[in-house]
């Protein structure tokens, strides 16, 4: 039985996943596909963070684009305008995002869930307005260009393939950390919190503290993804960080399944890759996301992929 157990350990699963991604990256010759693969990686980081919040803490944020934007714009502005070094700026951005999320999270987490939904939605919209209006600093609607790629020593991550070797280790680390987090004492506390807040608090789980911490963690992951994005593309503009991005990542979480981190990986990959390759999505993008979000939540509230999986198992059992 020992070997079966080991397959279910996060380290082993992540090893297999890393080999899979590495295989994809090596097989792909077209740099556009590599670009899509990198964007998938960036989205996975955001979606995993959001799933920790939605799936484990049972809270929903409609403003994750804002945290993503804070990371991206801080990295962009501080390195280009003020000449800060890239890596320390990235960590500074993480700390600032954590502070902002903490300040928003503390009062709101004490209230019912939909206050957080509305407050994060509002925060996202306000930040978007600031990005557009404060054009001396942010470049306004036309965006902010000239961000240098990241480098470690003499290795510069300036091509799609090279960036692949930066983003995917980050994705794997995030995934590994999150998988371990949800299996830890904290993770069990979070699961207790999700299934029944009152019971959780009675059994000694600091529910308020956990919710705020997970909110901060998920904001920090979005900020990390944002910084990486800015250094990868070399250009940021408000359009990337609109309300619609927040909806996209929420949809990815819900398609992949609440509380299923591997589901998030699949959900992010699926919803990033499909629109890229189906041209029809251009005009119908907004409509499709709305429809997917609504239909999945109506019929598979636990998530599309887990829902389909259960349905499949059920029919399979019937046949036998």
């Amino acid at each position: 039985m020992n070997h079966i157990k080991s397959i279910h350990s996060p380290a082993c699963q992540i090893g297999l996943f890393a080999i899979l991604v590495q295989g994809c990256a090596l097989l792909v010759r077209n740099s556009y596909y590599l670009f899509v693969l990198n964007i998938v990686g960036i989205n996975i980081i955001v979606v995993i963070g959001l799933n920790l919040l939605m799936g484990y803490a049972g809270q929903i944020s409609l403003g994750h684009a804002a945290f993503y934007a804070i990371g991206a714009y801080l990295s962009a502005i501080l390195t280009v305008t003020y000449g800060f070094p890239a890596w320390p700026t990235l960590f500074l951005a993480l700390i600032i995002t954590a502070g902002v999320a903490y300040v928003i999270g503390i009062p709101i987490m004490r209230l019912e869930g939909h206050y957080l939904v509305m407050a994060t939605l509002g925060f996202g919209i306000i930040l978007y307005i600031v990005l557009i209006q404060w054009d001396d600093v942010t470049g306004g609607p036309s965006g902010f260009a000239g961000i240098e790629p990241l480098h470690i020593g003499s290795l510069t991550f300036d091509s799609d393939r090279r960036f692949c070797y930066l983003i995917w280790p980050c994705v794997l680390l995030t995934l590994w950390g999150s998988l371990n987090l949800v299996r830890s004492r904290v993770g069990r506390g979070l699961m207790a919190l999700r299934s029944d807040e009152l019971v959780a608090s009675c059994t000694g789980v600091n529910t308020e503290g956990y919710k705020v911490k997970v909110f901060v963690l998920s904001a920090v992951l979005a900020s990390l993804a944002g910084s990486l994005y800015a250094h990868y593309i070399g250009f940021v503009s408000p359009g990337t960080f609109s309300f619609f991005y927040s909806i996209q990542v929420v949809t990815m979480v819900i398609v992949g399944g609440l509380g299923s981190l591997w589901g998030s990986v699949l959900g992010a990959a699926l919803l990033t890759v499909l629109p890229e390759f189906l041209g029809i999505f251009q005009t119908y993008n907004v409509l499709m996301y709305g429809l997917v979000l609504m239909v999945v939540l109506v019929f598979f509230p636990e998530g599309l992929l887990p829902g389909l999986w259960f349905a499949l198992q059920k029919t399979h059992r019937k046949h036998r």
């Binding site: 929903i60 209230l111 206050y115 306000i126 307005i129 119908y284 979000l293 109506v298």
Partner: protein
């Protein structure tokens, strides 16, 4: 420098937009009271009201009053569709899932509207000309008077409805205690159905009367919804008097802020008000202190 005349002008135009926020906030409260959920599609109803009015009056050439009635009915039908369709058939009864379904619905409505009405902002002609009337040294657009009038009528009718009709009393009973209402023979289903019809009709009406002043585009729903929600929270979520006072206060704060501080960040004011209230007094002006603190 700002003169008293200017302040007076801010007050009047603030009350105009404030009336709209009040109507949207009442819509939020009505649905919240019947179902306990926040309807994120409330702002889309406002947008849809304006858009269907444009279709009925400009494209189909219906006279103003007929087009007004037809669009309010159309939006009410869409609101009923949202309740009868996705919300009623949802497999999960968890409040947050239902709330997210309304988010999905609002994005869907937005996407469909973009395809039907395009991306450009559209406008409606004012109901009765656009010569400003001077009123105590401030210029008032006739449309503002229409907005005050219609909002006032709506509020009076709603007040009568909630206090003196059987259905209105039943709705209040459900808001007070669902189970007790059901035990005393009220069909909660019917109340939920009716509350969606009522709140979408109110939203649609708000959209129709504001469009001659502000124009309307397919993506305006989110912002209007957010402001209506802020107004509702400011006044005390779920209370009708609160929704009205909250809406008017927010409208005035916003116009004054735009005039005195910066017009670029006008839309940020509603959100700052929302955060401020949630920080310091989550029950709002009129709310009972029973905001659920989990």
């Amino acid at each position: 420098m700002t003169t008293p005349a200017q302040l007076w002008q801010f007050l009047l135009s603030g009350l105009t937009t404030g009336s709209i926020y009040a109507l949207i906030a009442i819509g939020f409260s009505v649905i919240h009271n019947a179902t306990g959920i926040v309807n994120f599609a409330q702002g889309e109803f406002v947008m849809l009201g304006a858009m269907t009015m444009i279709t009925f009056s400009r494209d189909l050439g219906l006279p103003m009053p007929a087009a007004f009635a037809a669009s309010v009915l159309a939006v009410a039908a869409i609101g009923i569709g949202l309740e009868r369709g996705p919300l009623r058939n949802a497999r999960s009864r968890v409040v947050l899932i239902l709330v997210m379904i309304t988010v999905g619905a609002s994005i869907f409505i937005r996407g469909v509207s973009m395809i039907i009405w395009g991306k450009m902002p559209l406008s409606l002609p004012p109901f009765s000309g656009d010569t400003p009337i001077s009123f105590l040294s401030a210029a008032v657009m006739p449309q503002s008077l229409w907005i005050f009038g219609i909002t006032l009528c709506a509020v009076i009718i709603l007040h009568y409805f909630f206090k003196h009709t059987m259905l209105g009393k039943a709705m209040r009973a459900v808001a007070a205690n669902r189970r007790a209402a059901r035990l005393s023979g009220i069909s909660v289903d019917r109340i939920v159905f009716f509350s969606f019809a009522l709140s979408s009709a109110l939203g649609g009406m708000a959209g129709i009367i504001i469009t001659p002043i502000t124009t309307m585009s397919y993506d305006a729903g989110v912002m209007l919804g957010l402001k209506g929600f802020s107004a509702a929270v400011l006044g005390g979520y779920g209370s009708m008097a609160g929704a009205i006072i909250g809406g008017l206060t927010l409208g005035v704060l916003e116009t004054a802020g735009a005039g005195l501080l910066s017009s670029h960040y006008k839309d940020a004011i509603a959100f700052l008000v929302l955060l401020f209230v949630l920080f310091f007094r989550p029950a709002g002006f009129f709310g009972m202190t029973k905001v659920q603190r989990l």
